[in-house]
Amino acid sequence: MKPPRASPSSPALTLERIAWLVAALLVIILPHALRQPPWVITVFLALAGWRILGFTGRLPLPDAQHPPLALLKQALGLLIFVVVYLGNDRTLGRDAGVSLLIMLLGLKVLEMQRVREYYLVAMLGYFLVITHFFYSQTLLLACYLLGGVMLLTASLIGFQDARRALPALGRLSLASRLMANALPLMVLMFFLFPRAAGPLWSLPKDAHAGLSGLSEEMSPGLISQLGLNDNPAFRVEFKGPAPAPSELYWRGPVLARSNGQTWSRGVTGDLAPPPIQGHGARYEYTITLEPHNQRWLFVLEQPSALPAGSRLTRDLRVLVPNPVVQRLRYTAQSYLRSVVTDFNPREIAEALELPRGFHPRAIELARQWRGQSQAPIDVVRRALEYFRSEPFYYTLTPPLLQGDSVDEFLFDTRRGFCEHYAAAFTILMRAAGIPARVVTGYQGGEYNAIGGYLIVRQRDAHAWSEVWLGDRGWVRVDPTAAVAPNRIERGIDQVLPEPILDMPFELHNVAVRQVLKQFHDVWDTVNNRWNQWVLGYNARRQTELMSQFGFEPNLGNLALTFVIATSALAFCTALWLLRRQTRPDPARAAYDRFCAKLARRGVRRARHEGPQDYARRAAVARPRQAGSILRISDLYMQARYAGDQRALRNLQQAVRSFRA
């Protein structure tokens, strides 16, 4: 019986409301300032500022009253498109899309006049929140954006609050309460919303451009670039005790060819894997790998059981079919001591190749050693001794090598990072007739006692060598260990010039450092949990969860169920709302038919007109029907207002036979 409520007149765009909206948008846009060219944000600020100044009357607005300005606005919109298109190398990918969204949102703020547009801008603001996750999905950003969503919601509340009954704080608290109410739904959607196995839609190709890490090539300076990069490469949880830090060689790309300057993958590396005989302790561990947009996985040397879906190559790399663009969690097993003695002539031949016309002095030196030594192992020892006794330095900032990189390093500068030592050592070995290759990856890692895992960062990137020693097979030799044993035994932090925590003041106090380290560990643990349980909740984990509840793990099923459930819910809600509005009172329904008949004759009942007043007016307007009009109205009033239920049937009959 409840009629649709009379609605109060719609809210107006006031300065305060616009300012709230702009403030909320600014908060949401702000993190994009780190990634977008500065002029994008500037354009947004200028347009929003124009709107606010225009509202206070200090600037003319580009509306219908100022046609030239309105034209300027249109031109500005076009210009933005053109500049973004050209500024992003003529591709409309992720970056260009976000730039466009931000600047055009500014234009919309400038021109919004109607209530509908206010809502549109607010909704676009919510959409803008999502765009951040194309770039980063950290916990910190999520929390920050939650604040942005709260502000935006509060500005919508302020817009609805016609009497301005709520102060600013009240709006914020109501917004947070609304969000808290939505939390169960959010959690439900998080777990149940169908997840595709890959990315739901493919991101434009620039999406993964910024991923740093090891590449498949090595030239002097490439790894030392990573030396100051604090980003995690992966995190490792050992099942059982972890090996000593000096044993933690995380194997990545193996480089067998050199062109004199740059090392790259050899052709024999991709052949079928050799048999591996492992002995000693076997370690099982789970790695959470940060996306690096490459096909290889890092495992502890040497792998004995591979992660699901991966394969091993001849040079003992672990490959997956597609580049890792999402955080990946996998379990593997390794023996620290293992022997690979499978002889392959092509592989050995490749491991002896020297770039033609390079490194004459190094080759000369190596030939000398070879002549003075009995066995290959002696040459290896000789070389390591050379690094140890001559004034070689391990440094993150080696001098630039301009000529022959190996010769210059070995005989002139003698300052280098791991890649210099690995490259020089490998060349020396090859020149001495010992098959050798460069292995890159990470070495060591930092133990996080709070989370109970090892975190390996980009600055742990490392390069070492492998030599073929006949019956002993491939043997790892790390020339860096000869120069800077601390690097291997105690981690990269011991040899880097300054600690990772870049402090504005000197921190000599050990206790403060301890606390900072503790804090650092806690923070990384929280992040790791976030990565594993929130971001790592992928299609596979979802399927597992579903099957635990006896649900058929099938994406199609899930999607179908979801669609059906949502539609059913929406349908029921709509039905309930509709029923509430038009639950028909029979007397009222009959009277409405009567009014409709009269309205067709031009006697329309005003919404606020009572039945008695209307009857009198209609009787005067249609004097011939005056009798039946008065009688029907009387019956209606009896039925509806006097509680006379007998009148209803008479009323229905009278209305049926009524001809206006």
Binding site: H608, G643, Q645
Partner: protein, 317 residues
Amino acid sequence: MPGPLQSVKTVHPDDRAAFEAVVAAAARVIVGKDHELKLSLACLLVRGHLLIEDLPGVGKTTLAHVLARTLGLSFQRIQFTSDLLPADVVGVSVYEKDTGHFSFHPGPLFAQLILADEVNRATPRTQSALLEAMQEHQVTVDGKSHALPQPFFVVATQNPFHQIGTFPLPESHLDRFLMRIELGYPDNRAERVLLKGRDRRELLESVHPVIGPKRLMELQQRAEEVHVSDALIDYLQDLLDFSRRAPAFAAGLSPRAGIGLRRTAQAWALLSGRMHVLPEDVQVVLTPVVGHRLRGSDRESTPAAVAEQLLRAVPVP
């Protein structure tokens, strides 16, 4: 036909006759103000107090007086001035030498119909004393409560224009009055009758009581029995709801205003010869009942305009 059959109540012929007689008798003195007369009667029927706001000389006092006479109620007129004290209105305790006790000498408030003339001239203290009596139907002097006679009505008048040296009733006090009406100038025909006729004072003398206090209380009882359907409650609720939500009004209607509106509509229906309330009844009494409680967002609009705005905005369900 579902549900139990319910017979429709009609107004008892005696009651109908009583109203007609009262209105007819009063109309002899108050010429051309039948509508206002009927509104005042409706106000008394639901035990409400009446505020008349108008220029001097349009018959505010006469209206109160004639009501008292036709209804057979004892009448007291209190002229409010700025030096009037609460005790002047309520009464005082006086020490009696003979008995050695204090005895209460009731003030002019102890009558069934009080005319509080120019109530806004009195100080807030005196106004409060009156308003407390209106609310409680009793007065307290020296810690002793004295019940006021039954029935008890206050008809207060105030002059809206000469505001110098006055204490306008605050909103909380205005809310105590069920109705606020204006009388306005008489129309042409009424003016003519007034000019040609006898002196109103003399006429007043000739008016005889049509009914007594006891009968009036019976009729008050009857007004409460007037049927209010769910559909009408919906309408009342929509009106209240709209007044609270719409930005056109600075403050919404209180629940007390809502109840007052319902009761007055019941009385109006009874006076109109019906034992059920129609939306029109609500619409007729809307302006007098809510006009002084509702303020538009712009302070300019008159009570009538604000009430009209409310009436037009809310559809009859």
